[in-house]
Each structure stands twice: as structure tokens, then as C-alpha cells.
């Protein structure tokens, strides 16, 4: 064959990209491989559904008092028994659970928001902004949070809206540690070339933070949010247990456990139902949190084994070979993993 003919041979396009697995799909798949996390997710969904629809099925409202049957063990009318004043335990537990869940999610969302704002702003702007924000963060880290919340709760709103204040305070006092982590991640992202490029393109700072920095630490924020719910629920129950949280007649898991604690030796059902729900709830939330973290972390072991079942899709994924599971994200701040070759000559400079 002549050279001229050779040139006419069709050269297959090298980047006829095979169908790739999307990032969301990949994360979901890794998450689903963690059985405990899936169990936890089902548990949470179940609890939320029960919290919403359960009260319609029990027949009793949480503030009803069955004066004829105080402190009755579980029976056909009161499935989980009654309290000293004849309130239905099932209705109370469901109400307490939904309060605890709402407070947990609200407080965690608030603290995640605060930590991302403070963390990114302090790292990105530097200078006096950083100094003031760090000063506030450190100050809040050293004050006894629970005590302050307790004092503020005493002097604050009482009655039905106490839970709103409680959620607010739990959120306001829970962001500092994450805020510092966000700050250090932002510091390493700040000098990433795409952030510099955006800056030299003329983008204002807030736009760079919103478009280029926050999305790239979002995996941390998601993990923080899930784990934060668990902490907030525990914080709420702790405070309510001490009488500093949700105020009667409103109930939460904490107030229920506190009421039941004195009766444990004789009337254990009053204590048992809310505490079992609390343990189960926090367990579910934390296993979901762990599952999310592992699914987002390319170095975890959720990548499967050699000779594993052929999976759907023909895409290629570079996770073990090149360590690019989390492109440019927090997982590979160093840029190089043990097996990568031909790294940049001056790479790894952080």
C-alpha cells in the first residue's frame, strides 16, 4: 500500500467517548453498596412517614388525657401504654419524634449554612475579615455551648414556639468546627488554578465563592449536614431532658425520656418507647452519614473487587487506577496518589 493511500484510511476518532457513568449515579451506586447505610436511610424514611401519618391512625392526640387509665401498660386501647396523667404513649412518642426531627434538620441546616459562609468568607478574603471571623469562631468554640443555650432558653420564649428558638440556638452554636474545616479546604481551593482563572477573568469574589468554591466542597457539606442532624437531635434531647429545651405542653423525645426516667424501675414503658426511638433514629442518621461520606470519598473501599459482577453501562471510571474519583474536589487535594504516573513536575505544591 502506498503512503498516499494510507493517509486516506479513516482514523477512528480517539475520543468517541464511551457512555460515562454520571457522578450522581456513581455516588448512588457506591452508597447502595453499603447495606447499613441503606438500612439507615429506609429507617429514617420510615420514621418520617410514621411521624407524618402515624397520628392519624392512633386515635389519640398527644394532648388528650385518658383520665380513666393513668400509667397503664401497653394494651389494646393504648398500644404503648399511658403516662401518669393518662396521655397516650404512642401519640406522645410520635409527636416527640416529629419535633426532634424538625429541630434536628432545622438546626443542622442552619449550622451548615453558617459554617460554609463563615468558612469560605474568612479563607477567601483573608486580612481583617479573616481575623474577625476567626476570632468569633474561636470565641464561640471555648464558651460552654449547652450552658449558654440553657440560659437563653430560660429567658426566651416559652410555650409552643420554644422549639423554634431551640432549633435556632442549636444551629447558631453548632457551626464552629465545620467552619474551621471549610476554611482550611477553601484555603487550598483558593489557589487552585480555576479559581485564579476566574479571578483574572474579572469575576467578583462572592460569585467565585458561590460558583467555584462551594460546589467543590459540597461533598463535605452534605456529610456535615447528615451527621449534624444526629448531633442536633442529641443536643435537643439533652437540653429537653434537663428541662431547658422544648416546653410543656409541647413534647420532644428529650422531655419524654426525662419524664420516664424517674419511673423506669416500675413503669418502664414510659421510658422505653421514646428511648428506643431515639437510639434507632440517631443510629439511622449516623449510618446514612457514614454511607454518604464513603460514597463520596474515592479512597474508601466501596469500589468493588476484581472480577466483580459486570455492571451496567460501559463507561470508564478511573477511581482505582488514577485516583480521580473526586475530580478537583476535596478528596485529592494533593493532586497525586500513590499510583499515578507522570505527575506534574512541580505538582503537589499546596
Amino acid at each position: 500500500m502506498d503512503i498516499m493511500e494510507l493517509d486516506l484510511l479513516p482514523i477512528e476518532d480517539a475520543d468517541q467517548a464511551p457512555k460515562r457513568i454520571g457522578r450522581a449515579r456513581l455516588t448512588l451506586r457506591r452508597f447502595l453498596r453499603n447495606k447499613l447505610a441503606v438500612f439507615g436511610l429506609c429507617g429514617i424514611v420510615l420514621l418520617i412517614l410514621i411521624a407524618i401519618f402515624g397520628p392519624m391512625l392512633t386515635g389519640w392526640s398527644f394532648d388528650d388525657r385518658d383520665k380513666l387509665s393513668p400509667l397503664k401498660p401497653p394494651n389494646s386501647s393504648h398500644w404503648l401504654g399511658t403516662t401518669q396523667v393518662g396521655r397516650d404513649m404512642l401519640a406522645l412518642t410520635l409527636r416527640g419524634m416529629s419535633r426532634s426531627l424538625i429541630i434536628g434538620f432545622a438546626a443542622a441546616t442552619l449550622s451548615t449554612l453558617l459554617s460554609s459562609v463563615v468558612g469560605t468568607a474568612s479563607a477567601y478574603f483573608g486580612g481583617w475579615v479573616e481575623r474577625v471571623l476567626l476570632w468569633i469562631t474561636d470565641l464561640m468554640l471555648v464558651i460552654p455551648t449547652m450552658l449558654i443555650i440553657g440560659v437563653l432558653m430560660r429567658g426566651g420564649v416559652s410555650g409552643d414556639l420554644a422549639w423554634v428558638l431551640l432549633a435556632l440556638l442549636l444551629g447558631l452554636f453548632g457551626w464552629m468546627t465545620t467552619g474551621r474545616v471549610v476554611r482550611s479546604l477553601t484555603l487550598s481551593l483558593k489557589n487552585r488554578e480555576y479559581v485564579l482563572a476566574a479571578k483574572y477573568m474579572g469575576l467578583p469574589a462572592w460569585r467565585i465563592i458561590l460558583r467555584h468554591i462551594l460546589p467543590n466542597i459540597s461533598s463535605l457539606m452534605i456529610v456535615d449536614l447528615t451527621l449534624g442532624v444526629g448531633y442536633a437531635v442529641l443536643g435537643e434531647t439533652g437540653l429537653s431532658f434537663l428541662g431547658l429545651g422544648v416546653q410543656a405542653p409541647d413534647v420532644s423525645l428529650g422531655t419524654l425520656i426525662s419524664e420516664g426516667a424517674v419511673l423506669v424501675p416500675t413503669y418502664n414503658w414510659v421510658f422505653l418507647a421514646p428511648s428506643v426511638v431515639l437510639v434507632f433514629l440517631v443510629f439511622c442518621i449516623n449510618s446514612v452519614g457514614d454511607g454518604v461520606r464513603d460514597a463520596l470519598d474515592p479512597s474508601s473501599q466501596s469500589g468493588g473487587v476484581v472480577g466483580g459482577k459486570p455492571r451496567r453501562g460501559k463507561g470508564r471510571e478511573d477511581v482505582p487506577a488514577k485516583g480521580t474519583g473526586l475530580p478537583g474536589g476535596i478528596g485529592q487535594a494533593g493532586g497525586a496518589t500513590t499510583m499515578s504516573e507522570d505527575n506534574t513536575p512541580q505538582g503537589g505544591a499546596q
Binding site: L6, R23, N216, A321, G335, S340, Q346
Partner: protein
């Protein structure tokens, strides 16, 4: 029997998409005292092979085949058994000396540890003395003293010497050097390679040299194995592979490297496309999609290595057609449309960027509560440059010489600490905030690391559209412009919807270039634009940059540590040392007749990918590291390392150490240098 014998080695990793066939059937023999180079692009399985020999793969990885050391099978040994061999009979020198030493122990202790573990009978005192002796051999000054120092007290090159000393500690049979000099400056690379050779001579070990730098291979290897997609595609002696390559991939690889010793002015021949995905390999030769010689029979079976000559094998179905063809017959360089500007002499062109007496000093602070200034780092210490329209200026020098700081100063468009920056005739000091923002359109940047240069969370369209949206373009215009830019940099419209992780390094670099060009800048600042790319991909990006320059009359300011790339792409070059320009001028004049001793040493340190030329060269190896920019030597800053200083008369030496030389005109043309005793020296 060979010292090390590898037979049909296969290494497989698990992954989401299926099994990654990282190494597929490599075999080789290595004799005592010989050096074999493993060459190939990223992902071709070089490092994976060496880790398999060391037994360093995690349990998830499946390894089959056979690796024998002196007849003893290594595969299947437990980690505990391998620990007795590692560091004792097989030693490894890693790429990154920063992370290969434990930061919390003095380096002497780390060498002592290696010795004691494999020689339980040795006393601590003897081991310590041996450690000091080893450090002396690898050229650490005051070894007895420095052995007590911690890794962070050493520079990169010094750390790599310590690594080599550690590798030598137990007289190993084999030293595996995985990219031992990639993280180092060229001047330091020359020092370290020399030490590595000394270590090999001292221990009589065989060496496996893994590198992507064909120049290093040409200078140091006896045998070469070229790998592609996990398979060896060509094996032979250094002469066979460099002068009579038989596999088209090897031919392409050798031809795409820009040469340091001459300038062609034509585009580089290109090896198009990207290495294949080793998860779903189609049947047939994996190189088919990139091979200009591909024929239908190539797609049927993957070729085995067949003999081309004595001890020279290659894997290609069409060997008989390929052998004997010149490189340019197979890989044609793309045509280049030259600009009308080329005819205009430099003096008549407009100046787009001008730096006059630019200074950038960083204060050196100390103390936790009250931070007081204890010194000043003179990162950029008074430089003058001008860049004309359609011209490329290359900045070269070791890291720490102030190249990148200069680029950042230009990009900030602020009033410099001292001196002046003029962009398109306007002084940046006099700009208002709005004017400065508008001027950002004229000066854009392309960064080094294609992994980090584009936001991984944004699709390509958004990445390229971002500067346009920022400057208030209308939606329809933005769309049209993005597709125009994609075409300009050689990407296809359907690429717009994909995320950066779906692209190879070279393509990502193209995305970065498209984004930089979006606002039609006049000056493009390029910070190591190709240094993170594989050799074959590099040529494509260089050609693209050249084509764009001719088409759009762009001016480039480019920083690169690869002097061969600079020679190929630049019109003028400025050599920087500790924040000052020591030599500047037309690129061919500076490379062919360098007069400053630093330029001479720098050029001489770059290995040339041609074994005969490379081995016949006289190399000027600089002593020591770059002095701290906070405490530069008095007089000529280079005087502390100048190889010429020792040859001068005492009175002249005093002049060098007392009086800083200024840039002076050399000869007739565009050539200036700052040396009291400038003199031309041939370095090739």
C-alpha cells in the same frame, strides 16, 4: 540466569466500570549492572509494573505471571517475606522526595533504620557511620552534621540524594527509580542523575528507570521497553530503539519531542488522539485509532512482540511496511498558515506589554502574636521586558527564580511595588477599578495543571461561557461564541455538555485555552502550559498555540521548565536567576551562543533525546541549590554557583562578588547578558 526475570506479568485492578487491565503480559530480563528504561505515557502501566516487582500492590489487585529474582519466585510471597527483600535486595527511589521521607525523624535515623532492619547483627554505631558514609557518597556536604537534620531542612534535590543513599544502604541487586527527577529542576536533575549513576556503579546493581523524559533515557539506559496500554510494544537496546524504531508508536513518540539543539520553525509532527481506556479494550492492536499506518488486519488480533533484529522486538502487524520509513513519512506535521505579521520586522511592531524596573518583594515575617519583619524575599528584583504584537517571549530559570511571580504581577494588573507595567500602552497604576476590570479582557491566562485549571463541577459550555457572561454578552451571542471557540481549539460542539473529568489532559488544556481566548485578549500568559501533559499530547497543544498565534495575532508570555519547548515555541527568551534577567535575546542566538554561565549551565543540563549526541556531550553541572532569595549573594547573584568564577583571576573574582553586572548588548543582534566576563560557549 538473569538477575531479574519477569514473565507474562498481568496486573488487574477492580473499578466501577469493570476491571482495569493495567499491565497485560510484560516480559523482560535484567542483568546485573545494566539499566533498563520503561517508557510510555501515563497509564501505560510503567509504575504498576515496578510496584508489582516490589510487591507493593494492595490485596484487591490481581497479579499473575512470574517474577523471579536470582531464580527465586517473588509472586505469591507474603508481605512479611517481601519485607525481607524490599530495601535489601530491591530498593526503590520514588518520584516525590517530599513525601518519600518521614518528616518526623532525622534523615540519618531513617537510613540507620533501613540498615538495622535487614542486618540485625550491626551495632547502632556502625549503622550510623555507614549512614554518614552513604550520605557522603551521594554528595551531601558535612554529612556527619547533616545526618542529624530533618527532611524539611533539605531542598528537593538534597532529599532525592538522601533517598538514593537509603536505596544504596544494603547493597541492593536492583534499584527501581520511578521518575526520580521529574519533580526537580533541570540543573538539580543533572546532579541527581549523576548521583544515581554513581550509586549504581558503587553497588553494581541493575536499575529499572521509569521516566517519560526521552532525553534521560537516551543518556542513561542500556535497554528500553516501550509500553502502550499495559503492553510492551517494543523492546531493544538503546541504539535499536532510538535509531531504528519499528513500532509506529515508538516512532511517533520519538518524533514529537521538540529538540533543544535545533529549531525548525515548522509545526511538530503529531501523534493524534489519546491513549486507550484499558478497561474496555477492543480486540486488535490498541494503537490502531492513533496509527497512521493502521490497516484492516490490525483490528483483528493484538500483535505479539516479534523479532526485528538481534535482541530487538516490536509488536506490529505491518512491521515490514514500517521498518525503514522516516518519521516524517508516517507522522505528518499539520500545515501552518503563517500570519502576515511575520514579514513585519520586530522594531516596527506595536508593543503590547512592557515591564519597566518591575519589583516584587515579599516581607519575611516572624513571630506569632506580634509579627515583625525579619527580612525581605526579592522574588522579582527589577526586570525590564517588552513584548510586541504576535510575538512569544519565553521565561526560563529554576523554580524560585521569579518567573511565576512575574506572571502573577502582570495578571493582577495592579500598581507594582516599584516599576511600571504597561498593557497596550496604558499604565496599570493609573487604572480605575472599572478600567482594570475592562482590561482583564486583554490579558488572559492558561495554567499548568489541566486537572486544576478548569472547575470540575461545571460543564464545558459553562466554563467557556463564564467570562462572556461576566462581561455582559447576550445569551445567543454567548452560545455562538462558545461553539466558535470550541472549533478554534479543536474540540467538537457535542463536547459542550460534558464535564471536565470526561476529557484527557490535553483536551482539558484546550478547554482552558478556549476560555482564555473567549474575550479576544491581546496577551496570553501561559504558565507551564504543557509540562503536565504526556509527550504525544504536548505536541498537539504546542501546535495549537502556534496556529492560534498566527491566526489571531496573539502575543504570548510563556513560562516553561522544558527548554526544548521554549526553543520551539518562542521568538525571544529571557533567562531569570533570583529575580533578575541574566540573559535575553532572540531564541536562536541565546541557545546557540549563550554567553552567561548560568544560561550555559541550564542548557547543558537538559538531556537531548539522542543517545549518541547525549553521551558525547560535556555537561556543566552546577554545584548546590538556588540560594535563598531572601539572602542573595552580594555582587553578581550567580557568583556563589558560577562555574566560571574559579577560572578567573583573583582581581576579577573580587569584581564579580562586589559589583552586580548590568544587562549589556552582546554582538550585533537582539542579545543582552548580565555578566562581567561574558563569553560564548558551545553547549551541544
Amino acid at each position: 540466569m538473569s538477575l531479574l526475570s519477569v514473565r507474562d506479568l498481568n496486573v488487574t485492578f477492580p473499578s466501577e466500570a469493570g476491571d482495569v487491565l493495567a499491565v497485560r503480559g510484560i516480559s523482560f530480563d535484567l542483568e546485573r549492572g545494566r539499566t533498563m528504561a520503561l517508557v510510555g505515557e501515563s497509564g501505560s502501566g510503567k509504575s504498576v509494573t515496578s510496584l508489582a516487582i516490589m510487591g507493593l500492590h494492595p490485596d484487591l489487585v490481581t497479579i499473575s505471571g512470574s517474577i523471579t529474582l536470582d531464580g527465586e519466585e517473588l509472586l505469591g510471597k507474603s508481605d512479611a517475606e517481601m519485607s525481607k527483600i524490599r530495601g535489601n535486595r530491591i530498593a526503590m527511589v520514588f518520584q516525590d522526595p517530599l513525601s518519600a521521607l518521614t518528616p518526623v525523624y532525622p534523615v540519618g535515623n531513617q537510613i540507620v533504620e533501613t540498615i538495622l532492619i535487614h542486618n540485625p547483627g550491626t551495632t547502632k554505631r556502625d549503622a550510623w557511620n555507614r549512614a554518614v558514609e552513604l550520605l557522603t557518597i551521594v554528595g551531601i556536604p558535612d554529612a556527619a552534621e547533616r545526618a542529624r537534620a530533618f527532611p524539611f531542612e533539605f531542598s528537593g534535590g538534597m532529599r532525592q540524594r538522601v533517598m538514593i543513599a537509603m536505596a544504596m544502604a544494603n547493597q541492593p541487586d536492583i534499584i527501581i527509580a520511578d521518575e526520580p527527577t521529574t519533580a526537580l529542576d533541570v540543573t538539580i536533575q543533572a546532579q541527581v542523575l549523576e548521583v544515581l549513576q554513581r550509586a549504581q556503579a558503587e553497588t553494581g546493581a541493575a536499575m529499572i528507570l521509569i521516566t517519560h523524559d526521552l532525553g534521560v533515557v537516551a543518556g542513561y539506559a542500556d535497554e528500553v521497553t516501550v509500553m502502550y496500554a499495559g503492553r510492551p510494544v517494543e523492546q531493544g537496546t538503546i541504539g535499536d530503539v532510538f535509531y531504528h524504531p519499528a513500532m509506529p508508536y515508538t516512532i511517533g513518540l520519538l518524533g514529537t519531542v521538540p529538540r533543544l539543539d535545533h529549531k525548525s520553525g515548522d509545526p511538530l509532527p503529531m501523534l493524534e488522539g489519546n491513549p486507550p481506556d484499558v478497561v474496555h479494550l477492543p480486540p486488535g492492536c490498541p494503537f490502531v485509532p492513533r496509527c497512521p499506518m493502521a490497516a484492516p488486519q490490525c483490528e483483528q488480533v493484538e500483535p505479539e512482540l516479534t523479532a526485528v533484529g538481534e535482541g530487538h522486538t516490536a509488536a506490529c502487524v505491518r512491521l515490514s511496511d514500517v521498518v525503514g520509513r522516516a518519521h516524517t513519512e508516517i507522522f505528518r506535521p499539520p500545515p501552518l498558515e503563517r500570519t502576515s505579521l511575520a514579514a513585519v520586522p520586530r522594531a516596527d511592531r506595536d508593543t503590547v506589554l512592557e515591564l519597566a524596573g518591575l519589583h516584587k518583594h515579599f516581607p519575611l515575617l516572624k513571630g506569632a502574636l506580634y509579627r515583625r519583619q525579619v527580612g525581605v524575599v526579592k522574588a522579582v528584583d527589577g526586570i525590564d521586558l517588552d513584548v510586541k504584537v504576535g510575538e512569544t517571549l519565553g521565561l526560563v530559570g529554576e523554580s524560585g527564580s521569579g518567573k511565576s511571580t512575574t506572571l502573577l504581577e502582570i495578571l493582577e494588573l495592579l500598581k507594582p511595588q516599584r516599576g511600571r507595567i504597561m498593557v497596550l500602552g496604558r499604565d496599570t497604576a493609573a487604572l480605575t477599578k472599572a478600567e482594570r476590570r475592562a482590561m482583564r479582557k486583554d490579558v488572559q491566562v492558561v495554567f499548568q495543571d489541566p486537572m486544576a485549571a478548569v472547575d470540575p463541577r461545571m460543564p464545558v459550555f459553562d466554563i467557556i461561557a463564564e467570562p462572556l457572561q461576566e462581561f455582559g454578552w447576550k445569551k445567543a451571542e454567548v452560545e455562538a461564541r462558545v461553539f466558535e471557540l470550541l472549533g478554534l481549539v479543536g474540540l467538537r460542539p457535542e463536547h459542550a455538555d460534558r464535564f471536565p473529568q470526561h476529557f484527557s489532559g490535553g483536551q482539558r488544556q484546550r478547554i482552558g485555552i478556549a476560555r482564555a481566548l473567549a474575550l479576544s485578549p491581546s496577551v496570553l500568559v501561559l504558565d507551564e502550559p504543557v509540562s503536565a501533559l504526556d509527550v504525544s499530547i504536548q505536541a498537539g497543544v504546542i501546535n495549537l498555540l502556534e496556529a492560534l498565534q498566527h491566526k489571531l495575532h496573539l502575543s504570548y508570555v510563556i513560562v516553561a521548565h522544558d527548554l526544548a519547548v521554549i526553543r520551539h515555541i518562542s521568538d525571544r527568551v529571557a533567562v531569570m536567576y533570583l529575580g533578575s534577567i541574566v540573559e535575553i535575546g532572540d531564541v536562536n542566538t541565546v541557545y546557540d551562543t549563550p554567553v552567561h554561565p548560568y544560561t550555559q549551565a541550564l542548557i547543558s543540563a537538559i538531556p537531548i533525546p539522542d543517545p549518541d549526541v547525549e553521551r558525547a556531550r560535556q555537561r556543566i553541572v552546577l554545584e548546590g541549590d538556588l540560594p535563598s532569595p531572601s539572602d542573595p549573594p552580594t555582587g553578581c547573584k550567580f557568583s556563589s554557583r558560577c562555574p566560571k568564577l574559579a577560572l578567573l583571576a583573583p582581581a576579577q573574582q573580587v569584581q564579580c562578588q562586589a559589583e552586580a553586572p548590568a544587562l549589556e548588548q552582546i554582538g550585533e543582534g537582539d542579545h543582552q547578558a548580565a555578566c562581567h566576563f561574558a563569553e560564548v560557549l558551545k553547549v551541544f
